[in-house]
Symmetry: C2
Subunit: 391 residues, 2 copies
């Protein structure tokens, strides 16, 4: 049996294990110091009550013969797809329910969708980047081009002639930079994709953090995006679902490439390789979209956003450049005094006992930058902000 | 953007929709007739109490800050992998926990594992077959060879020189035939795979239906299988998890191909493309392996097996050839009087108001055969058996 050799072009990313290692060593040497972790990319607040209650009700349904549910539809239950449809309606985006596919979080489908595309395509990926985009294409042997996200473009790169590619990854609000594209900028990407018969894979995992009503929280708010974009969303950060696993993938019926309908191809792919998301999880996800659910998740999101504001204000006072922090749980700051990302990591750990994530771990343009996250306790945020201010 | 053209070599399988269509038309014309469905491949008994209670407890954990769980390990929680390890220990199969990967049902991983293998491999698939094996390889563009499962080999084909291939699918107890390989037969496959540097993808989704202690319920009960086999298992049929979605994939550390360790490759693949199974689902799965859980699921399995026995006895009396029905929820019967699968379907529907699945839908060797399943109510089974006997 012959191995997929592309697999060995994967680069090991030791970013988070190296961070953990350094923190461990420091804490062992300095047991009296209280280390505050702002490096975590995971939510910390518990699930909303209404979600938990709905999941328990669904579990009970499964214990009675008359309400037991076996195999569900691969694309997800209609009750949930209709709720997602309503959610988009409120953004003035009209979707049919057959354009909505319930996924087990954005990560799987962001990789799986590539099965519909030839391996003989060029992929365009912004740098710095969430590493999964790169890895799943490397494993398939696709050629990758990078587009630079830098301070010069406020980490929101726009397409130019040299960025011609077949598959384009965009993430807004961005991980790791927290930067958010406006309508005009996204329109530029959509126009570029249409002109080049490219497809945009739009990662909207952090859309719920957008408070500014002038910013698009779905690429389908942009004209003609239905003809060139797939959108991936997750309830992971929206509703604390990182351990529950549910989201949705939007594949419009207007996506026609080489005369083929991608929506139909995806449905066929699901029939062969997926059996849908757990019924209990889908019921919990449904509760997120209820009136109570929306109210409860907004409280949590606001909590994280207030955390972000505490850090942002401290950076403002210090006159440090950063992106994110307003419509995003991430703050992407420039390391002071020309320090490298790892130099600043060490400095912050040793001098302030605060842990963040070195930007260089997200790509070459991340060098000299640093990611802080707003997931965590209020009092820790306040203390971290004070410690940073004192430095 | 260029489409994956292999996708268009997929053959649409209208088997189940055609069955549903014919039943609907018959029922509309004959509203007074009670149609009994023995075609369903889904469980019908509700979840065990202990599983439901454990999932509700897990949901409660998620609603408190101190017990909330965010991202879990991609390979699954250790508490569950240890339970799977114990389960295999009882079969005298020793696994380390890092050889056990928790999946969301066998179907996804049976397709996903192919990402580790070159598309330039020959695949060997028995006919008749569960269609997913074929589809996921067709989409990747791999060349498929079939091996004939027929009455002559009791639907348990053994390898011969002409079956040389790189990737070999085996399913035992088999879907759709219910046939089960014995140790000697599986050993022949393992020896063949080792001699040809091939890999066996072993689908053990129905292993819990094996009551005969002389039959292997894992390929790893066979000598040297650790060097050439991956095993996929699911709690779908074992514990009624078709709507809950959980199972496990066993990838031994001894699987070395072209000097590469498949277990390590899979772990890397998961890091890029998966975020693990829902915590709540994993807790429910854990309960399946508890003492109470094992007792409760055995009651359900025994219920289905008794159903199978009722049908089998009716066929025995009629002197009709069949496989399965003993260590499997499936009965694979020869259509009487040389009827084709669809002729017999129509005959049985119209004369006995019993619905089954035409064997020809599972491959060319299924022609002239018919699949009945034991999932359903006892009284319906008894009535169906009586009606068949009367014909």
């Amino acid at each position: 049996m012959k191995i997929n050799q592309n697999h060995f072009n994967l680069i090991e990313n030791y970013l988070f294990s190296e961070v953990a290692d350094k923190v461990k060593k420091y804490s062992e040497k300095n047991p009296d110091k209280k280390v505050i972790k702002l490096g975590i990319g995971d939510v910390t607040l518990p699930l909303c009550k209404v979600v938990v209650e709905e999941m328990k009700k669904a579990a009970d349904e499964m214990s009675h013969k008359n309400t037991f549910k076996g195999y569900g539809p691969e694309e997800g239950y209609l009750f949930l797809r209709e709720k997602v449809q309503d959610y988009y309606n409120k953004k003035n985006v009209t979707l049919s329910t057959d354009e909505i596919f319930i996924n087990d979080g954005a990560k799987c489908d962001i990789g799986n969708i590539l099965e519909l595309f030839s391996q003989d395509n060029y992929v365009l990926i912004p740098d710095p980047v969430y590493p999964a985009y790169v890895d799943c294409n490397v494993m398939d042997g696709r050629k990758i081009k990078y587009i630079n996200a830098t301070k010069a473009n406020d980490f929101l790169p726009l397409p130019a002639r040299e960025n011609q590619a077949d598959i384009i990854y965009l993430c807004s609000p961005n991980n790791p930079t927290g930067a958010v594209y406006n309508h005009k900028q996204l329109q530029a990407w959509v126009d570029f994709a249409l002109a080049n018969e490219a497809i945009i894979l739009f990662d909207a995992a952090y859309e719920a953090f957008i408070g500014d009503k002038n910013l698009p929280s779905s690429i389908f708010e942009v004209e003609n995006a239905r003809k060139c974009a797939v959108e991936f969303c997750s309830l992971s950060k929206t509703a604390g679902f990182t351990g529950i696993r549910c989201g949705y993938t939007i594949i419009p019926q207007d996506l026609i490439y080489e005369s083929k309908n991608l929506n139909k191809m995806w449905k066929r792919r699901l029939a062969a390789k997926f059996n849908g998301v757990s019924y209990i999880v889908q019921r919990g996800a449904g509760a997120v979209f209820s009136e109570d659910g929306q109210k409860q998740i907004q409280e949590n999101i606001q909590y994280y956003k207030n955390n972000a504001q505490i850090i942002s204000r401290a950076l403002d006072k210090l006159n440090i450049y950063y992106t994110g922090g307003i419509n995003s749980p991430y703050i992407w700051m420039k390391c002071p005094d020309g320090m490298t990302s790892w130099d600043f990591f060490d400095y912050l750990l040793q001098r302030a006992n605060v842990v963040g994530t070195p930007g260089s771990g997200f790509g070459k343009n991340g060098e000299g930058f640093f990611r802080l996250t707003a997931f965590g306790d209020r009092e820790n945020m306040i203390e971290a902000a004070e410690r940073i201010a004192k430095l």
